[in-house]
Amino acid sequence: MVELKHFINGISHPTVILTVILFIYPFIFPPTNWFEKWNKRLKFDFFWTKKGLITVYTFFIGFMIIGVQDENAKHILLKPDNVPIVGLLFLVHFFLWLSMNQGMKNDKLIDAGEKPNEYHDPKDKVLVWPDLVYIELIALVLLMAFLLVWSIGLEAPLEQPANPTNSPNPAKAPWYFLGLQEMLVYFDPWLAGVVFPTLMIIGLMAIPYIDINREVSGFYSFKHRRIAASIFIFGWLWLWINLIMVGTFLRGPNWNFFGPFEYWDLHKLEVLTNINLSDLIYIKLLGVGLPENILLREIFGFIVFFGYFLIMPPLLAKTVFKKLHQSMGNFKYGVFIFLVLSMVALPIKMYLRWIFNLKYIIAIPEFFLNI
């Protein structure tokens, strides 16, 4: 058991878990034919069968059972404000499964030239009263019952009176913003707290205007809109929800990483010797001092930054997204690729941090402009 806990603690580290996720992700949600081939070969579509659901849930529940018996994990899992997140884990996976399960079935039907499951004869309609109204009512009653159980069973937390001079360690934002707080590890507040959230909202709003696939509408499907779906699931599920989970369960005092079965020791230290790109190149690589001129100093940062956002899009348009570019046109493609690149910037920065201890690509603290 102890070894198991150590193992789980080990693999929960962001470096491990995110790498695994990033690597496996395209095989589970294949965006191209090649991946789909492997998906089939690896039988990853097993996840979306009933047996798959049971398997995953068995793992979840097993983890929870081990968790509540462990002094440290129990403390975090059963903290009143964390309970919704535990619930979120189960719910999100269930609904992911539900949509994927139906999507898979529909995909098969469509491949066979049939209509999706949702399809019914347009004339075959159902009266709202009583069918819809009734199930809505039942859903409401059950939800209310569930809320009552929740409220009786779990007291709303109330800590010490607000004290501006005594900050708890860790001081955490509300759980739904923990993704942003987690991003703070890798980006400055103006990016993590302002620019990225804004981009997220804009990006979400832009989805219907970018997604030019008109066919698949009104029914569950994956294969026939696999690029859109895999990008969305990646952003929403893997990045957003996952970062919340990390922020809630795996971040302890001083925002240090702690495995689920690890004691939140105030004194745990982590190596923090991050350096900027300019230091990396001028001092480590070239062995000269930093130039006085800011622009000169950060020239490599600018090259990387603009290279990423200006050179990557045409490059991709010519290669991977060739078809997409053609069907979307320049403007839509531009917006699309900007948003995707911004999103992917997060994992990229994470890896740069982990591998090179890179702090900033562009560091101009004089203007609070650090990227």
């Binding site: 919704p84 979120l88 719910l91 999100v92 609904f95 949509s99 139906q102 499951n117 949702e118 399809y119 347009p122 075959d124 309609k125 159902v126 009266l127 709202v128 009263w129 009583p130 819809l132 109204v133 199930i135 809505e136 859903a139 409401l140 939800l143 209310m144 009552l148 409220s151 709303a156 937390p157 800590e159 010490q160 009176p161 607000a162 004290n163 501006p164 005594n166 900050s167 001081a171 934002a173 739904y176 913003f177 707080q181 507040p189 103006w190 707290g193 302002v194 909202i201 979400l204 989805i207 008109r214 698949v216 509408s217 009104g218 569950y220 499907s221 929403w236 203007f367 609070f368 402009l369």
Partner: protein, 261 residues
């Protein structure tokens, strides 16, 4: 069926009943349609729906539950407002009293857990809509409204988070709002803020930036509590209701619930 009408049947045919529920007890197809049409609450729905739209497997009922949670939160919130005073003297002790002394102080639990649940249902609703591709024309704009509603929901929850005025509240909000300091141009520690100055006069500083506007001070204090309270109880609910109205209206106007063609 016996000839003799029982009391409920008689009641259902009485003029008073009929004046309220015009169509009477819905038994026939017509009556059923009329009862939906005539009810201010039910007429959000069309009279008839495609078959897949009543299947829970398809809709998950998430939108409905979100709306219902909004109502639950409104009602419990109003009840809580009777006992809660948004001042630094009383806020915390009033919350203690909700647990210790106020009859049915469980309202606070329902409110808090309901709020968490609402955030989750909103996300799942969005996820469902995405996975069924239901945002596609002609429903693009309603998706946009939906995103705004999601954002407002988070803000509502966030503003409410401060009100218990305990350590959890003040520090969560401090962490949350500290990021606003770094807003480009508008936050005093944001890139570009230094550009907004004439001569030596700096227009964006700690006491004039966007965070200050949000908190009513440099730190989370008495005025932040009041601001968050007003936003939480009046400002944001008001705005969210407008967008909700638009959202529901557009569901119908954009051709009802989506479905395969």
């Amino acid at each position: 069926m016996s000839k003799k009408k029982n009391i409920f049947q008689r009641l259902g045919e009485s003029p008073v009943w009929k004046s309220i529920f015009r169509s009477g007890v819905p038994r026939t197809r017509r009556q059923r349609m009329m009862s939906v049409l005539n009810s201010v609450f039910l007429h959000l729905h069309p009279v008839r729906l495609p078959r897949h739209a009543v299947k829970l497997k398809f809709t998950w009922c998430m939108g409905g539950l979100t709306f219902f949670l909004y109502l639950v939160l409104t009602i419990t919130g109003i009840l809580l407002m009777f006992y809660y005073r948004p001042t630094v003297e009383y806020a915390y002790t009033d919350i203690i009293d909700l647990r210790e002394q106020v009859p049915l102080g469980i309202m606070r639990e329902i409110h808090r857990w309901g709020a968490h649940a609402m955030v989750i249902t909103v996300w799942l609703h969005m996820f469902r809509v995405f996975m069924t591709g239901s945002y596609k024309p002609p429903r693009e704009f309603n998706w946009v409204v939906g995103v705004i509603l999601l954002f407002l929901t988070l803000l509502l929850s966030f503003t409410g988070y401060l009100l218990p005025w305990d350590q959890l509240a003040i520090w969560a909000v401090t962490v949350g709002t500290n990021m606003a300091r770094a807003t480009p141009f508008l936050g005093h520690e944001g890139p570009g803020a230094a550009l907004l100055s004439l001569g030596d006069i700096n227009f964006v500083h700690a006491a004039s930036d966007i965070r200050f506007a949000l908190l009513g001070g440099r730190f989370v204090g008495e005025s932040a509590l009041l601001r968050f309270y007003v936003l939480h109880c009046i400002g944001l609910p008001f705005i969210i209701m407008i967008f909700m109205a638009v959202h529901f209206w557009r569901v119908r106007k954009d051709g009802g619930i989506s479905g395969p063609t």
